[in-house]
């Protein structure tokens, strides 16, 4: 089986368009979210550093900046987890059906 041949069949298969649309949309949306979170964090540091120094509780020393910073790290882990979960499940299933169906 030549790749060229099945490549042509795949590109005409409606499942291919569905896969690409779903996965690209999801990947770009998550990328935008990561960029928003990260550059949002940097912009706050650059322009409103005082906000991050707000204490969490009256008289305490822990500031709001700490949970926010750790939150950015955890959000990066969580978003990669979400993507892998959906890609290794739904998207891979779609890919498999697509390749089977184009043979």
């Amino acid at each position: 089986m030549s790749n060229e041949l099945s490549a042509g069949k795949i590109s005409r298969n409606p499942k291919y368009a569905e896969l690409v649309r779903k996965r690209s949309g999801f990947a770009w949306a998550l990328s935008a979210l990561v960029l928003l979170i990260y550059y949002g964090f940097i912009v706050i540091i650059a322009f409103a550093p005082k906000f991050l120094g707000t204490p969490l509780s009256e008289g305490g020393v822990t500031t709001i900046g700490l949970p926010i910073g750790v939150g950015v790290i955890l959000s990066a882990i969580a978003l990669t987890g979400i993507y892998v979960y959906r890609a290794n499940g739904e998207f891979d299933r779609l890919t498999k059906e697509l390749i089977e169906g184009s043979k």
């Binding site: 795949i10 020393v61 822990t62 750790v70 890609a87 290794n88």
Partner: protein, 557 residues
């Protein structure tokens, strides 16, 4: 003395020093005094070397084909690869450097940790599976997939080698200084030991040995850092508020350590640095190469998830370690120099002294051995990536146009590894007394402005042509190098001119968009027949990158 102060370097304006490699330690340990021979550390390090040489022997017996050598036969699992990637990323400098930064300025350390981490989700969402589906051994396979092999591979190999060499210099100089400090070994011997061991790992064991050395080191580093962080938290009954309160009380800056300080004073600089960190990671050849060691796109995705989790966890640990050092090391005369203000051995020693404070001599030896192992593992990965660029891209595909056999290619790769090892040792000795802190920033800026734009355009933009990729890529490379040289880190700090020609320390905010625009422009004005064929071939490439159809599979064993 600049050499002995991380915070001095940073407040002096060079946050650069905190990039995730060894250059920072290199710059800051520039005149490290040789310490008394540390036998605990040496014995544990010998145990590590013995174990890894055993693994190399095993790997050598199972390394026969080019696929074994470059990509460990595609037989690495997602979890293993995730650990290996995390190992490549968690250098001794990020361990010692970030904890030292937290020790010196508190909250600011977190800003850097975040910057190094957020590149990973982007790599996962946009690059990892396409890379796995299109490539075989090097990222040049992907960049040249539908373009002319000779010019594009020459460009990609140049980009890879430049990144690898600059990165290696920083690592070697840092290794020599750190080992002198921790083990009491002479600088030159330390550099030669690192060079010899990495040559052995890479030439005999290829990617299999390199990956396992990286995995073992990652586990040791994570275990060691976890132990230190737990030991600190136990002393405060796991109350972060109590730990922070004590730190604020004893730290000379008091409450200021709980909020952003002077590190990110200039927003344009901050964004430029953030761009280099985020996108440079996706252009590092030794990182990209790891995606070819797993059997399929599914495992490639998993490996990024594991890597991100381990790296994120590690950065949170270094934050706790930095605060632990403020409380348990700062103000304790046994860890301070004669003035009673600076840490003995330099600010980078915060985590090392803390290891002693919570675990005594034996644990200090363990952490020192892990720091040495970390350097070894990172330089091995770099050497393998550089050797692959020489053998797979230049030798096999440029000079012999694919008309050579696997045995020759692997042999050339081994010779190239030895050559790179020798060059690394020589450069390490030449640069011993130099401040090489700028090299890390340069490495990331080059990776973000050279390899990354061409890789992304080749994957996502059908209009890309050979001419566009090569001219645009070289413009990005030239811009990153020239702007770094004209910027404050080289023009003022190294060449000692009074004023920088280019005002920013991190050029990525200019050099990276410039590379994208130049690549686009020279592709659009390319009306050759060749260009039309290349553009027409995009659809087939896209289908393979989206579905994995025809992708390099795992090699049966």
């Amino acid at each position: 003395m600049r050499q002995f102060s991380v915070s001095g370097t940073i407040i002096g304006g060079a946050a650069l020093a905190l990039l995730p490699t060894f250059a920072m330690a290199a710059g800051d340990l520039g005149q490290a005094q040789q310490q008394a021979t540390n036998w605990h550390a040496i014995i544990m390090f010998i145990a590590f070397v013995g174990l890894t040489l055993g693994i190399t022997y095993w790997a050598a017996k199972h390394t026969r084909t080019a696929s074994d050598f470059y990509a460990a036969g595609g037989g690495i699992t997602g979890l293993q690869n995730g650990l290996a990637i995390a190992g490549d990323y968690m250098s001794a400098a990020s361990f010692l450097g970030i904890s030292a930064l937290v020790y010196g300025s508190g909250f600011d350390g977190l800003i850097y940790s975040v910057g190094w981490l957020v590149g990973w989700p982007i790599i996962l969402f946009l690059i990892a599976e396409r890379l796995r589906n299109l490539g075989k051994y090097t990222f040049a396979d992907v960049a040249s997939y539908r373009l002319q092999q000779t010019p594009v591979r020459t460009f990609a190999a140049t980009g890879s080698l430049v990144v690898v060499i600059f990165y290696l210099i920083g690592q070697m100089v840092g290794a020599g200084q750190l080992i002198k400090l921790l083990f009491g070994l002479d600088y030159v011997y330390a550099v030669i030991i690192v060079g010899c061991l990495m040559i052995i790992y890479v030439t005999f064991g290829g990617m299999k040995a390199t990956t396992w050395v990286q995995i073992i080191k990652a586990c040791l580093l994570l275990a060691g850092a976890t132990f230190i962080a737990l030991a600190v938290l136990v002393k405060f009954n796991f109350s972060f508020e109590a730990l922070f309160a004590k730190a604020v009380e004893v730290h000379p800056k008091h409450l200021a350590i709980m909020s952003p300080g002077t590190l990110v004073a200039n927003p344009i600089e901050a964004i430029s640095l953030a761009m280099a960190l985020m996108f440079g990671t996706a252009g590092l050849p030794h990182i990209l190469m790891r995606f070819f060691t797993v059997p399929d796109a599914k495992a490639a995705r998993k490996s990024v998830f594991f890597a991100t989790s381990f790296i994120g966890y590690f950065y949170i640990l270094t934050f706790i370690i930095g605060f632990g050092a403020i409380v348990l090391v700062g103000g304790h005369p046994e860890y301070l120099d004669a003035t009673g203000k600076a840490l003995r051995g330099g600010a980078n020693m915060a985590a090392i002294h803390l290891a002693h404070a919570v675990g005594g001599d034996l644990f200090l030896g363990f952490i020192s051995a892990v720091a040495f192992a970390t350097i070894l593992a990172v330089v091995s990965g770099l050497t393998l990536a550089g050797a692959s660029a020489i053998s797979h891209d230049l030798y096999a595909n440029v000079f012999y146009r694919g008309r050579t056999n696997e045995q020759h290619e692997v042999m050339v790769s081994k010779v190239a590894s030895i050559g790179l090892g020798v060059i690394a040792v020589i450069l390490g000795i030449i640069f011993e007394k130099q401040n090489v802190a700028y090299m890390v920033g340069l490495t990331f800026a080059i990776a973000a402005s050279t390899n990354f734009p061409v890789l992304v355009m080749s994957m996502f933009w059908g209009g890309l042509t050979t001419r566009g990729a090569v001219i645009g890529g070289f413009i990005g490379l030239a811009a990153a190098v020239i702007l770094t040289v004209l910027g404050p880190t080289v023009w003022v700090d190294v060449l000692k001119y009074p004023e920088a020609v280019f005002p920013l320390k991190y050029p990525a905010i200019f050099s990276m968009p410039l590379a994208f625009i130049a690549t686009w422009f020279f592709s659009v004005i390319d009306n050759s027949e060749q260009a039309k064929r290349e553009q027409a071939a995009f659809e087939a490439q896209l289908i393979r990158s989206e579905t994995g159809l025809g992708a390099e599979g795992a090699v049966a064993h």
